[in-house]
């Protein structure tokens, strides 16, 4: 027959477990990203990390979330082999929850990364990035690399930095009579010998029209 103390102990343990679960997994918005691979909690972490890395203001460049980093990373994780995707998600989990063990500076620092205030998030990133311990720096640079790829996927960023791709008409070369697009049947090859051309060698003009994916939709 369990004593009252045992019942109390079970109750307290359950509460602690529930609290721990909440600290790790609870309290996030519910929506998933466009590719539906990342959970809401991972997107919340990415939004926090994106804006800590690329905050709003300071230059003509947008913030991390304005550049659409979380949605981009969601699509990217969906596109890589599952083991690599798993490692990326582990990376997000690690940084999001490391501050539960190693508190961020300032009051209430023992919270998930995404629950910290902006200054604390910066301090945490600095801790990872400047660490004298190589594996910690590696974790930081891996996260930053993923966020940076997302930042530079934003056509507005590319246009601001004069890096948007130009429209290029690909001349038809002999190979185009041999191979269909990836996944298609050769019967879909639309070109014939009469279409053959050759690369022009004309330098791309600085004011050449942009590739449709990078052009400003508002004109």
């Amino acid at each position: 027959m369990p004593s009252a103390w045992d019942l109390w102990a079970v109750l307290i343990a359950a509460l602690l477990l529930g609290w721990g679960w909440w600290r790790v997994f609870g309290g996030f918005p519910r929506a998933r990203g466009p590719a539906g691979v990342l959970a809401a909690r991972e997107l919340a972490f990415l939004a926090a990390a994106a804006d800590a890395t690329y905050p709003e203001g300071g230059s003509a460049l947008p913030s991390g979330t304005q550049a659409g980093i979380p949605a981009y990373v969601d699509r990217y994780v969906a596109s890589v082999p599952s083991t690599i995707g798993f490692l990326m998600r582990l990376l997000f989990f690690l940084i999001e929850h490391a501050t539960l063990l190693f508190a961020a500076p300032g009051g209430g620092g023992r919270r998930r990364f995404s629950s910290l205030n902006a200054e604390q998030r910066s301090a945490v990133l600095e801790g990872w990035g400047e660490s004298s311990w190589y594996p910690r720096r590696l974790v930081f640079s891996s996260l930053r690399a993923i966020l940076t790829m997302g930042f530079f996927s934003d056509p507005a960023v590319l246009r601001t930095l004069h890096l948007a791709a130009k429209r290029i008409e690909s001349p038809v070369v002999e190979a185009d009579l041999l191979y269909p697009a990836v996944g298609a049947h050769p019967s879909t090859i639309a070109h014939g010998p009469e279409d053959l051309g050759s690369p022009s060698g004309v330098p791309l003009a600085a004011d050449a029209p942009l590739h449709p994916d990078h052009a400003d939709p508002t004109g």
Partner: protein, 512 residues
């Protein structure tokens, strides 16, 4: 499928059942080395079947976004790294292999590289003069020529100016490109169709000469009959997902492995540890670790325009490094910017004023291994250790790049190396790059030049192949990718790989 229609290409959508074919020679891998062999043998009237795991890419398949491009064209989504000292290293999975995504740099190594090969690895007949006819043949075929000034763009020409100011020899990079427009997007695929990657150069010629190029086929095993290689077998794989389906077998008088130096050792291991009495298969992995520095100029550079890599200096090869200009998708380069937050954004706003130059180092002391994973995967387990003396060589290279930047008028440089200032504003401040004692882990380095994992050696007990790529202990088995280099080339490896493959093709043709 009939095995009789010569001179054709097959793609994933055409495989409906298991199949077998016969050939004189089966070539595994359509990278620069395999493609040269396939063409040279087909042109000599041999029945050639070339197998490639990746699909052909057309301009409409190219992704402008660096990360998504990598996840389509590269093995392991382009995120392959070594264990030990972590170094990212990419291998393509596409018709044309690395040539589809590389910068088309073609450099002949200087004589002292080949002298070193001969002296240290008991090799004969492999001096630069011996190989020059093979370099010449490849050069003529691909139209390899120095990058024209009109498509250099400022970020390449500033390098020239800096070198000139210091009296350092530099030159426009010779590339396998015809009609380059300076789009700087060699990494994601040349939409201008100027880069003479294998899929649009050697392979169409091989097909016209009668070769059968079968794509989306993963070779899983080399077949043998006694001491002789007799063919290969494997499975059809779906592009991008890698899902396996129908089985195939190609029976041939000779097997040529050109799967790349991180894949050929795996194939040999998975085929019953083939051709490995020397124990050297998968050992001696070497890289050219690379490091890039960003320099910011007072005037606009507009780095988005210009040939991907247009200028180089070979002046420091004997000191162990080569200097080049560099461009890649912005996202890939921006990974090198230090910091985060407003600092990072301020730095990024300077991108239109920036140029990026790099050094690749010859690191004979830094060695690694390629080992197979358990199970059906053909992805390698890579280990590598960056030797601390080689790290100092890279540090020396950083200092030289800094000098060139300041001589060209840069107002600051961003070395991106742990332990030295994130920004350096003058050549005096840059002295720290020369005096600093570097730890191998201080660098964010990367390398797509890999070699030596099935090295040639005159002594069968110490190497896997002879200088013509013939396996020492097997008949009818040739290895022709960059794995056969006994030591690194000190310059970009593709051209040397192709010249050696050109010579191997002649040796194999004589033997058939």
């Amino acid at each position: 499928m009939s095995g009789s229609d010569r001179g054709a290409v097959r793609v994933f959508a055409e495989y409906e059942r298991d199949f077998t074919e016969q050939a004189d020679v089966v070539v595994v891998g359509s990278g620069p080395c395999g493609s040269v062999v396939a063409y040279e043998l087909a042109a000599r009237g041999k029945r050639v079947v070339l197998l490639e795991e990746g699909p052909p890419f057309t301009p409409q398949d190219f992704e402008l976004d660096g990360a998504f491009s990598m996840s389509r064209t590269m093995r392991e989504a382009g995120l392959r790294t070594t264990r030990g000292t972590v170094i990212p290293t990419m291998q393509a999975i596409a018709l044309g292999g690395g040539s589809l995504v590389n910068s088309a740099i073609c450099v002949r190594p200087p004589d002292f590289v080949f002298e070193g090969w001969e002296e240290n690895f008991e090799i004969e007949g492999t001096r630069r003069a011996d190989l020059d006819p093979h370099f010449d043949a490849v050069e003529a075929f691909l139209g390899i020529a120095p990058t024209p000034d009109e498509v250099q763009g400022q970020r390449n020409l500033l390098f020239r100016d800096g070198c000139d100011a210091l009296g350092i020899d530099s030159e426009p990079i010779a590339r396998n490109a015809r009609g380059c427009r300076g789009s700087g997007e060699c990494f994601t695929g040349c939409r201008s169709r100027a880069k003479q990657s294998m899929d649009i150069s050697y392979l169409p010629a091989a097909i016209h000469a009668g070769a059968r190029v079968l794509t989306s086929l993963q070779v899983q095993e080399v077949l043998t009959e006694g001491r002789r290689a007799s063919g290969v077998r494997g499975q059809v794989v779906e592009p991008f997902s890698g899902r396996r389906s129908h089985r195939f077998q190609i029976d041939a008088k000779a097997v040529v492995l050109a799967a790349g130096c991180m894949a050929t050792p795996i194939l040999l291991s998975k085929s019953g540890n083939l051709a490995n009495r020397s124990g050297q298969v998968g050992r001696n992995l070497q890289f050219h670790p690379g490091i890039a520095i960003l320099g910011v100029f007072p005037e606009k550079v507009d780095p988005g325009f210009g040939a991907t890599q247009g200028y180089q200096s070979l002046a420091f090869l004997r000191e162990g490094f080569k200097l080049e200009t560099l461009w890649a998708p912005a996202a890939v380069l921006a990974v090198r910017f230090p910091g985060y937050g407003h600092d990072l954004k301020t730095r990024l706003a300077e991108v239109p004023y920036a140029a990026n130059w790099d050094a690749i180092a010859s690191c004979h002391r830094s060695l690694g291994t390629v080992r197979p994973k358990r199970g059906a995967s053909l992805d390698p387990i890579l280990t590598w250790r960056f030797h601390s003396e080689d790290a100092q060589v890279l540090g020396g290279a950083l200092y030289q790049i800094a000098r060139i930047f300041f001589a060209a008028g840069a107002r600051k440089i961003l070395p991106g190396v742990y332990g030295v200032p994130g920004e350096i504003h003058s050549i005096e401040e840059a002295d720290v790059l020369r005096t600093h004692r570097y730890a191998p882990t201080d660098f964010v380095t990367a390398s797509n030049h890999a070699f030596c994992t099935t090295r040639m050696h005159g002594d069968p007990a110490k190497g896997v192949v002879d200088p013509r790529g013939r396996a020492h202990e097997m008949d009818g088995l040739f290895l022709v990718d960059t794995g056969i280099f006994p030591r690194c080339t000190s310059v970009n490896p593709m051209f040397t790989g192709m010249a050696l493959a050109h010579r191997s093709a002649a040796a194999l043709a004589d033997q058939l």
